[in-house]
């Protein structure tokens, strides 16, 4: 985990470093992923149809100049019949059209289906991963995988497959035609293929390096944009728009510079190729002219030569550009494939029985970077009892709760529920019995009902009880659409306290055996807090409660208070005991003492 973090930082800094060698950031550790061809295997039926269609439509396309040439020759020979020509030509043209239409439909369909299924597969894979993994890979990277990476694969399927087939058909076909008309001239003309091919190869090799770099710059650009959107309020409070703009300008300038470097390479490419094609034209004129003058070739043949040359240069260009799309797509598919084939932690648990509620934390150690977050923590929590965890900022309180639901795994030590290791339980069964109220407010962009009855096991009765316990009934009643009101993504239409109460109701709606509160009281006013805690006591009498908190007064009567500092359990016991035994506890207590007489009254 530490390693991954590190390399992530390195890659984040890459754009700043002048000496960045693109593409090297992550690729070395890349497992040899499946190739793009493997991706297409399940769709081979469609690919064959596609190849067939483009084969036919392009093959027919090749006949058209021949028909024209024949008519000219026929006319000169005096055997020209207009109706036959019109009939033949129209039939060919209409066939080309029909096949081309079919081809574009199949082409689009195949590409979109491949993209859709790949997205679905990747999303399903992601959905089975651990939170730790998502954090480590970063949501941003997964977003890129699901959107732009799959888009470039889609582009490959929709453009490259057909283009490659039709280009090859056109090149081979027109070469054969050229050879049939006059093989000596054809051989001269065909020498342009290796010349153009080599030019492309050299230029694209250089360009690809820039493409890698440009991807990194785009990532950088996106990061600046994302942070400027997510931190919009802060930026406005500090009036730091200029600073954001400067950051953006740096990234944007770099993007422009790379764009211009790519351009510099490309600018020469097409003119050069057109020039080579021009040379072929001159060769046709010189040699072809010579042949016609010497009656070794017909005038119609010369006209056809010119037409076929045009048909034949263009696909070479296309092939060149496709090699680029293929390169892009393979890189993207390698990234996507890496995610899809990533190891997923199998849920090896077998126990699904109802929890009694005893929790044993044994010798837990968690390292985060170089610093241990939790050091050899051992705790025992009895069913139905109330436990508070207090301690300074960054003491490891939240991490401890995360461990309890298996969001993260400890470096060493075990967690046991009712004497059985956490890993022996089927995770979903465990999660259905543990309600977790997170510290940060997380509200999904859907109705309040769906937000609260977030788990699919919630019954209407449980929902009602949860809402009442969280003191949300009045708030909901005041809303125009009641429970069906859609709340917004970042929950900006709700106050901090409302969000937190919704989070509580969400946890309680599970009708949990164990309730984990992470600093729940921080954003809820005193009166509401009291009511809610009383409600919990009344409505969920047997619940095992673990509450991370800063306020001693709310937990004085708890069965156990644990003082956590810098990842270590400094003291554990009842309030009165701790007051006698732990100087640190006394210090915290004193820091809250002055107003306690007010709080105690309630």
């Amino acid at each position: 985990m530490k390693q991954a973090k590190k390399s992530e930082h390195e890659s984040q800094q890459l754009p700043d470093k002048k000496s960045s060698t693109p593409g090297q950031g992550k690729t070395p550790k890349l497992k040899k992923g499946p190739s793009l061809i493997d991706l297409l295997v399940p769709y081979k039926k469609w690919i064959y149809i596609l190849i067939f269609l483009s084969f036919v439509s392009n093959g027919l396309n090749l006949i058209l100049p021949k028909l024209v040439a024949n008519s000219i020759d026929n006319y000169q020979a005096g055997t020209f019949v207009l109706n036959t020509v019109i009939l033949e030509f129209s039939a060919a043209a209409i066939c080309v059209f029909a096949f081309a239409v079919l081809q574009s439909i199949v082409q689009n369909y195949t590409a979109e289906v491949v993209a859709k299924n790949l997205r679905q597969e990747l999303a399903a894979k992601i959905s089975r991963q651990s939170t730790e993994y998502i954090q480590q890979i970063t949501p941003g990277r997964l977003l890129t995988n699901l959107t732009s990476d799959i888009d470039s694969i889609k582009q490959f399927v929709s453009l490259a497959v057909v283009s490659i087939v039709s280009s090859v058909v056109l090149i081979v076909g027109s070469s054969i035609m050229l050879l049939l008309i006059e093989w000596k001239l054809a051989i001269v003309v065909l020498t342009v293929i290796p010349i153009i091919g080599i030019t492309f190869f050299v230029v694209l090799k250089k360009v690809r390096a820039f493409f890698g770099e440009s991807r990194l710059v785009i990532d950088w650009l996106n990061k600046v944009i994302n942070e400027s959107i997510l931190g919009a309020a802060l930026i406005r409070v500090l009036n730091s728009q200029n600073k954001e703009h400067k950051k953006f300008l740096d990234a944007n300038t770099k993007a422009k510079d790379i764009g211009l470097s790519i351009l510099k390479l490309f600018a020469g490419l097409i003119p050069l190729i057109t020039f080579v094609a021009g040379m072929a034209n001159i060769a046709i004129l010189l040699l072809g002219g010579y042949f016609v003058i010497n009656n070794e070739m017909t005038l119609g043949g010369l006209a056809a030569f010119n037409s076929y040359l045009l048909i034949f240069i263009f696909p070479i260009l296309i092939l060149g550009f496709m090699s680029n799309i293929i390169a892009h797509a393979s890189a993207s598919y390698a990234r996507v494939g890496e995610m899809i084939s990533a190891e997923e932690k199998k849920d090896t648990g077998t126990i699904t029985k109802k929890l009694h509620g005893d929790i044993d934390i044994k010798n837990i150690t968690v390292n985060y970077g170089e610093k241990p977050v939790l050091k050899n923590v051992t705790l025992s929590i009895k069913s139905g009892k109330k436990t508070a965890i207090i301690g300074p900022t960054a003491a490891g309180k939240t991490q401890l709760l995360y461990l309890l639901v298996g969001l993260f795994n400890p470096n060493s030590g075990t967690i046991e529920y009712d004497g059985k290791n956490l890993n022996e339980y089927v995770k979903s069964s465990l999660h259905n019995q543990i309600g977790f109220v997170f510290q940060d407010s997380i509200i999904f962009n859907m109705s309040l009902r769906e937000n609260i009855a977030f788990s699919d096991t919630v019954t209407d009765k449980d929902l009602k009880k949860a809402i009442d316990t969280a003191e949300l009934q009045d708030f909901i009643n005041a809303l125009p659409d009641k429970l069906n009101t859609i709340v917004s993504e970042r929950g900006t239409s709700l106050s901090g306290g409302q969000k937190q109460r919704i989070m509580l109701a969400r946890a309680l709606a599970l009708n949990p055996k164990i309730l984990l509160l992470d600093d729940f009281t921080a954003r809820v006013d005193r009166q509401t807090e009291q009511k809610i805690l009383n409600n919990i006591h009344k409505n969920y009498p047997d619940i095992t409660l673990i509450s991370v908190t800063q306020k001693i007064s709310s937990v004085e009567h708890y069965d156990q208070i644990i003082l956590l500092m810098e990842g270590e359990v400094l003291a554990a016991g009842k309030h009165q005991e701790l007051l006698k035994t732990s100087p640190e506890y006394v210090q915290i207590h004193n820091s809250q003492q002055s107003t306690n007489h007010y709080e105690l009254r309630s």
């Binding site: 019109i86 081309a100 369909y109 959107i229 040379m279």
Partner: protein, 595 residues
């Protein structure tokens, strides 16, 4: 003010939108006139060479080959070589110049969008989903990028080719030429007719990409909830829904982009060839045309219809670009309503009551985020220099809203807020934000170090090294807070990571705000997740701020607010002054409430 982007999308998607899109686009090109002229000259030369070359070939066939004059053929080949060489140089210049124009325009466009984003008020970000905004800026500008870096050049180039070839065809033989161009005209009519439809389909496809990206963003950022509540299927289900939608929209767009065009253009091109062939042979038979000319003409038909076919494939890209451009102009056309008011428009301060040296005053302020839903009703309050005020009250009562109005994140719907006796709307943002510090309820960190985040937006210490900054912090007695970070000021943090706790984020926000030495410091539950011992430390720091500094504190913990000089009770849009701390507690504990 309505800043919601997606409600405005059912707009000008007809063909006429194109012209206005181009018009809106022109200012971005204003510094490129010189380059454009050079590029156009190069294009002109290149296209004429491209057009003349087949004429020369046709002429050579007619005059030299048919008359068996091989010397003439060789001479003509020399001429052709020169033409191709000129064209080589011209097309290099053209590609490079136009490409440069494209890259710089994209650069300007991105800057324009980003600047606009920075101009817009917080409301804009509240009303739009982050994922959708990100998709607009990343994905949609990229669509424009693709158009600029590849398509635009070919577009211009092909347009010239078509124009030149068209003129030439007509010049060679007006009757045959006219007949040749007929299918193209029919095609033009058809293309214009379906333009609006195609653009609409592309707009829908981009929109679905935007909502897919919002969905992914939301689910992945909140993944721990999805796991802890056993709703991995929720992510899958929601994703599959948007994926299916995206698939449909994207397929429809793809089909209209390609099916209508490429095959159709092939057919049209073929019929043009047939017309030339039939009519040409007829003209030859009545002695008005030559075989050499017919061969040239046929080449020109390809010269006319091939670029047309290319334009057809670019046209799809162009429609995508126009749809993307529309989505970007949605943002660019947004106007902030939080402008600095000129002297003439500001409300003159008329002191109410007997408090002369007030730093901040609300006079009959009404406010609501959306029309018709008022959050604050007729609020008046007065804050004095050097005092500490606390805002208390039940959740959802309007505390954060009040604080946001104090910092002018929003303007009141009615009534006026005075800062130092002047309408708060008359202050330039730089001055206002320097004087008013606001620690937000949800702390946000930029990717970087703790130091970067502390100095974020701080001009004074911007260039300090870690050591120098540490000295400054020591002087301000803030150094104890830095100890809580693994590597002190150089600890790496990121916006979304779990490596740093909420309390630590709040510490950074606190240090950042205090270092700016504001006249008015607003703390919106700024220490809610910080332990009480550390909080006492913060309390001490707040006490030591200059005598004239006014503090506004929103908190639920009573000891956080017990030192306040005055307490305001905020509930259901009303702000009541509490007579004493005890009175405030009384109201808080037992007061009437509805939230």
């Amino acid at each position: 003010m309505n800043y919601a982007l997606n409600t405005t999308t059912s707009r000008k998607t007809d063909g006429t939108g194109l012209m206005s899109a181009i018009k809106a686009f022109l200012p971005l090109l204003k510094d490129e006139k010189m380059k454009m002229v050079i590029a156009f000259i190069a294009i002109l030369i290149n296209s004429s060479m491209n057009l003349l070359a087949p004429v020369a070939v046709g002429y050579a066939i007619d005059t030299f080959i048919q008359s068996h004059d091989y010397d003439g053929v060789i001479k003509f080949s020399g001429l052709l070589f020169i033409m191709y060489a000129v064209s080589l140089v011209a097309s290099y210049i053209q590609t490079k110049t136009m490409g440069g124009v494209g890259q710089r325009t994209l650069f300007n466009l991105r800057n324009a969008v980003f600047n606009k984003l920075q101009d817009l008020p917080v409301s804009f970000f509240n009303q739009n989903k982050a994922g959708d905004l990100i998709s607009r800026i990343n994905n949609d500008t990229d669509k424009l990028n693709q158009f600029f870096s590849h398509a635009l050049l070919q577009f211009v180039n092909n347009a010239f080719m078509i124009l030149g070839a068209g003129i030439f065809i007509l010049y060679l033989n007006i009757r045959l030429g006219g007949a040749t161009l007929l299918p193209a005209e029919a095609l033009l009519v058809f293309t214009v007719a379906i333009s609006g439809y195609v653009k609409r389909k592309n707009a829908l496809s981009l929109e679905s990409t935007g909502s897919m990206s919002s969905e992914i963003q939301e689910s992945l950022n909140n993944f721990k909830v999805i796991v802890a509540f056993n709703r991995r299927d929720y992510f899958r289900k929601k994703f599959n829904e948007v994926n299916e939608k995206n698939y449909k929209a994207s397929m429809q767009a793809g089909i209209v982009n390609t099916v209508f065009l490429l095959p159709l253009y092939g057919l049209i091109s073929a019929s043009a060839q047939l017309i030339v062939l039939a009519l040409g042979i007829y003209l030859i038979s009545i002695g008005q045309f030559s075989v050499g000319l017919l061969i040239t003409f046929l080449t020109f038909v390809s010269r006319f219809y091939d670029p047309l076919r290319q334009i057809a494939s670019l046209w799809a890209q162009f429609q995508v670009a126009v749809a993307a451009w529309d989505r970007i102009t949605d943002i660019l056309s947004m106007k902030t309503d939080l402008v600095v008011l000129p002297e003439s428009k500001i409300v003159k301060h008329q002191p109410q009551g007997k408090l002369p040296n007030s730093i901040l005053e609300f006079q009959n302020v009404h406010f609501g985020y959306t029309e018709g839903q008022e959050i604050l009703h007729n609020v008046s309050l007065n804050l004095q220099y050097g005092k500490t005020y606390a805002l208390v009250g039940p959740t959802g009562g309007g505390k954060t809203t009040t604080a946001s109005l104090m910092a002018r994140l929003y303007d009141p719907v009615e009534g006026t807020i005075f800062f130092n006796g002047k309408d708060i709307r008359s202050y330039k943002p730089a001055e206002r934000t320097q004087k008013i510090g606001f620690i937000l309820q949800e702390p946000f960190l930029f990717t970087g170090t703790v130091k970067d985040n502390i100095l974020y937006g701080n001009e004074e210490y911007q260039n300090h090294t870690s050591e120098q900054l540490y000295e400054v912090l020591k002087k301000e007695q803030l150094e104890d807070l830095i100890v809580r970070f693994e590597k002190g000021l150089d600890t790496e943090v990121s916006g979304s990571g779990e490596t740093i706790s909420l309390g630590q984020k709040q510490l950074i926000a606190f240090i950042r705000a205090v270092l700016r030495k504001p006249e008015l410091l607003i703390l919106d539950e700024a220490t809610a997740n910080i332990d009480t011992v550390t909080e006492q430390l913060l309390e001490g720091i707040l006490q030591k701020l200059p005598k004239t500094t006014t503090r506004v504190i929103i908190a639920h913990r009573l000891n956080t607010i017990e030192n306040a000089n005055e307490i305001f009770f905020v509930n259901s849009g009303q702000i009541t002054r509490a007579g004493s701390f005890k009175h405030a507690v009384e109201m808080l504990m037992h007061g009437k409430r509805d939230s």
